[in-house]
Each structure stands twice: as structure tokens, then as C-alpha cells.
């Protein structure tokens, strides 16, 4: 039996402000070790803000973020990331003037250097395209390749919690499918815990064990992926014509 205190990530009553705008209005949710949990919601609902608040940038004004039982609410971003969280952020944020290989090495900054070769091979096995392009500059990659690199880079630190912000954004359906397959694969084979933020609700809910729905800074619904997929409100708001 695992109570909510034992969750790998536990967000409780978090409020975050951008200036005077309250972007998160008391958000609470949990991610258990080994799960894929998704957070769906419209553009501007505060999904990315939540991911960044977990990483301490910006910090929560109220409420607490606990990772692995420890309160990380007031820690610096780099300390939080060194404690075992990795994020593939909104807009991918590939270093444009670094090669693919250097971007991956940056991801491995907090990892044991002895693992580097092994982890590179693993990233290349997940995304063979990255291997072909390893000496190319990040800025020259296509959108799909940049997304693969962003996920590969996040995995290089061997995180215990992987935060993914809209990996499907702006990508062709075929690439989206590939990327979601890889997310499922790393969860199954490596037991990676994944917290996935998506607007592409259909794919995300099919993949995830559980999901939360966010509307203007608040969590309004929660359930298993299948429950939310079957939910009328979710269908009306997020799945119309979705694929």
C-alpha cells in the first residue's frame, strides 16, 4: 500500500504567479513511481507553468512540491534537476549552436561520466535518427528531430522522473506516433516514471495510466486514462475531431 506521501512526485496546493497573474490556483496531484501520468488541458491552462514550478522556475508562491519525500519547493532549479528530475521543456530548447552529441552531453551533466557511452548508445537506439545527425548542429534539425533530441537529452541524466511538455506539438502524425511509442517503451523497459503534459489528449490518455485535466490554473478532473477518454466532458472539450 502506498499513500500519497509515498508518491514519487507530490504537488499540493501550489499557487504560482507571473507578476500579478495567478497562473496556478492551488494545484494538487501525485505521480507514483513507475507510472505514466498525463496532464491535459487547453492552451494557457497552466500546464507548462506547473512543470516549470516543479523545477523551481518560477517558484511556487504557496503550497509544496515534494519529490521522493523531500520538500523541493524552495530549492534552486539546478539543485532540483540534480536530485533526479529531467525535463523536455516547452519549445524543446535545443542548444542551436551545439551539435546533437554536445546537446546529449549537456543532458548527461549530472550523470556519472562512466555511463556516458552506454547512455549515448541507448539514446541512439531509441532515436536512430539522432545517431545519423550526431555531428550536426541542433539548430539545423527538423522539429521532429529536435523533439527526439530534447527527450534523448532529458534521458541522459538517468532521471527518476521525466517531465515532458507537449512532445507532439507541431509534429506530423507519423512522428507523433513514433514519439509516443518511445515514451511507452522507456516506461515499460526501464520503469521510467513519466509526467506528460499534452494538448493532444487522445494520444496522451491512451498512453497514460492516469490523467488529470486542468482548466485555467486548476485541476478539475482526474481518473485513469481509459476513464477520462470515456468521459463526456473530456470528449466534448478535448477530443472533438482529435486523433
Amino acid at each position: 500500500m502506498r499513500g500519497s506521501d509515498a508518491a514519487l512526485l507530490s504537488v499540493s496546493g501550489v499557487h504560482t504567479f507571473y507578476g500579478s497573474i495567478e497562473a496556478l490556483k492551488g494545484v494538487s496531484l501525485q505521480v507514483e513511481a513507475g507510472e505514466i501520468v498525463t496532464l491535459i488541458g487547453a492552451n494557457g491552462a497552466g500546464k507548462s507553468t506547473l512543470l516549470m514550478t516543479i523545477c523551481g522556475d518560477p517558484r511556487a508562491a504557496r503550497g509544496t512540491v515534494r519529490f521522493d519525500g523531500r520538500d523541493i519547493t524552495r530549492r534552486s532549479t539546478y539543485e532540483i534537476m540534480r536530485s533526479g528530475i529531467a525535463q523536455s521543456p516547452e519549445g524543446r530548447r535545443i542548444f542551436p549552436r551545439m551539435t546533437v552529441l554536445e546537446n546529449l552531453q549537456m543532458g548527461a551533466l549530472t550523470a556519472d561520466p562512466a555511463h556516458l557511452e552506454e547512455d549515448l548508445e541507448r539514446a541512439f537506439a531509441l532515436f536512430p535518427r539522432l545517431k545519423e545527425r550526431q555531428h550536426q548542429r541542433g539548430g539545423t534539425l527538423s522539429g521532429g528531430e529536435q523533439q527526439m533530441l530534447a527527450i534523448g537529452r532529458a534521458l541522459m541524466s538517468r532521471p527518476r522522473l521525466l517531465l515532458l511538455d507537449e512532445p507532439s506539438l507541431g509534429l506530423a502524425p507519423l512522428i507523433v506516433r513514433q514519439i509516443f511509442e518511445v515514451i511507452g517503451e522507456i516506461n515499460r523497459t526501464q520503469g521510467m516514471t513519466v509526467f506528460l503534459v499534452e494538448q493532444n489528449a487522445y494520444h496522451a490518455l491512451k498512453l497514460a495510466h492516469r490523467g488529470y485535466v486542468m482548466v485555467t490554473g486548476e485541476v478539475t478532473l482526474t481518473g485513469t486514462g481509459a476513464e477520462l477518454l470515456a468521459n463526456k466532458e473530456v470528449q466534448a472539450a478535448y477530443l472533438e475531431g482529435g486523433s
Binding site: T77, Y78, M81, A86, P89, R93, F95, R97, L109
Partner: protein, 305 residues
Amino acid sequence: MEYFLQQLINGLTLGSIFGLIAIGYTMVYGIIGMINFAHGDIFMVSGFIALMSFMILGIAGVTWVPLALALVLVIAMIFTSVYGWTVERVAYRPLRGSFRLAPLISALGMSIFLQNYVQLLQGARSKAMPPMIEGGFTLMERADGFTVDLSYVRLMIIVATLVLMIAFTTLIAKTSLGRQQRACEQDKKMAALLGVNVDRTISLTFVMGAGLAAVAGCMYLLLYGVIDFYEGFVVGIKAFTAAVLGGIGSLPGAMLGGLMLGLIEAFWSGYGSVEGKDVAAFGILVLVLIFRPSGLLGRPEIEKV
């Protein structure tokens, strides 16, 4: 021909010193987007530290020149780095995230502070040092007795600069620290998300810039034998010009800009007038900026720090 060669040697020496200082300007600009106007004064402080170290070592009886030189370099680099670190900590870090001009004004203030600080401690007059390294090679002799000399000091300056620049380029291109600096330069938020301590990386950038300025300060003292509290302003403006000429933010640009500026000054002094050398240097800067506003190598795809 002999005269040309001599001016070439002089220009390369001066350009090496400009280049070493210019790297500090360009790296700081690359990583936090500000011009560190106090950098020239950091160079001046290092000259005084070197001068004092030579005197103390002299009193302590360290008279073997290579050893004294090595010790002075190390001492100057350490103490100057502390100055560089402190300046960033005191004058720039508290202003990070405030409006763009604030750190620039703070930098000007820091520059004035350092000049007055040294003037108070050391006096306003130039301090002189007897030449440490004498002699050199005579490369050529003309019929009328004009000789082309490569003094040991100039040779040492050129070689040391070459070695440092190769080491430095390798550091930035190949090591984890260099990657972290480039990451901060390209996207600080993402760098932090990968576990980079951004504040520490910025501090280290200042320390590295100051370390190179310290080498330049020692070289300058060895070459000219005098230093005064105002020296940093003049040489600093030249090195800053070199950084802009090469393309501010670009590491190879700073080196190239430094060398070019040194050569322009040397040839202008040699063939034109010594008084006109600054006009020539800044005139060429204006021309380059008209036709290449981002400097010679300052294109976005060039590796910057």
C-alpha cells in the same frame, strides 16, 4: 623589408596583449550580454599585482628569472581572478534581471572605483620596473646598421599568447566546463534545467577573463616596464575595440581583432605618425562596422561564449 618585419614583430606583440584582454570582454558579453567596462581596470590592477610580486620576490631572494616569472604569473592570475570574481559579485549579480542599462552603468562605476582605489593606494605617478628579461635575437641586419630584433620578452609574449589561446579554445570547445558556458550563453533557462549552476558559471567566466587579463598585465609590465592607475582605461578601450572589431561574443574574433588592432597601430606608428595611431585604429573600426556591423567573425553561427 627589414623595417616592415620589425613593425610586424611589434604589432604581433601588442596585438597579443590586446587579444588576451579582448577575450574577457567578449566572453562576458557572450554570457550575460553586457560590456564589462571595468575589465580594462582589472588588467591595470593585475599590472600592479605583478609589479609588487616582482619586488617581493626580489626581496625574498628569488632571482632566477624563469622561476620568478612563473611565480609572478601565478600570483597575478590568482589575485586578479579574485578581483574579477568580486566585481561580478558586488556590482553585476545584484543587478541581474533589472533593466539593461543598469549593469552597464554599474560597470562604469566599478571602472572609476578601481582607478581611484589604485590611485589612492599606489599614487598617481607611473611606477617603473627595471627590465627583467634583456637581450634577444637579431634576425637581420641592413647595410646601414638597422637591425631586426626579436627580443626575448616579445618572443615570450607571442608564444605565451599562442599557447593560452590554443588551451583556451580547447577548454571552451571540448571540456564540460566549456560546454556549460556555451549552454549558458545560448539558453540559461535550459542550462539550469539540465543541472548547470548558472550563477557559478557566470562567476567562472569573469574569473577566466580576469585570469587572461592578468597574463596580459604581466606581459605589458615586462614589455614597457611602467604601469599607472590610468593605463587600464586606455588599453581597455583598445581591447574592447578589438573585441568589437572581431565581432563581440566571438572568441576567435577577439583574438583576430586584437592582432589586427596591434598590427594597425604598429604599422601606422612605423610608417605614419605615432600620434595618429589611435585615429587609425578607431578609423578602421568605424569602417569595419559600417560594412560588417557584427564585426569580422561575429556571425550568429560562430561559436561564442
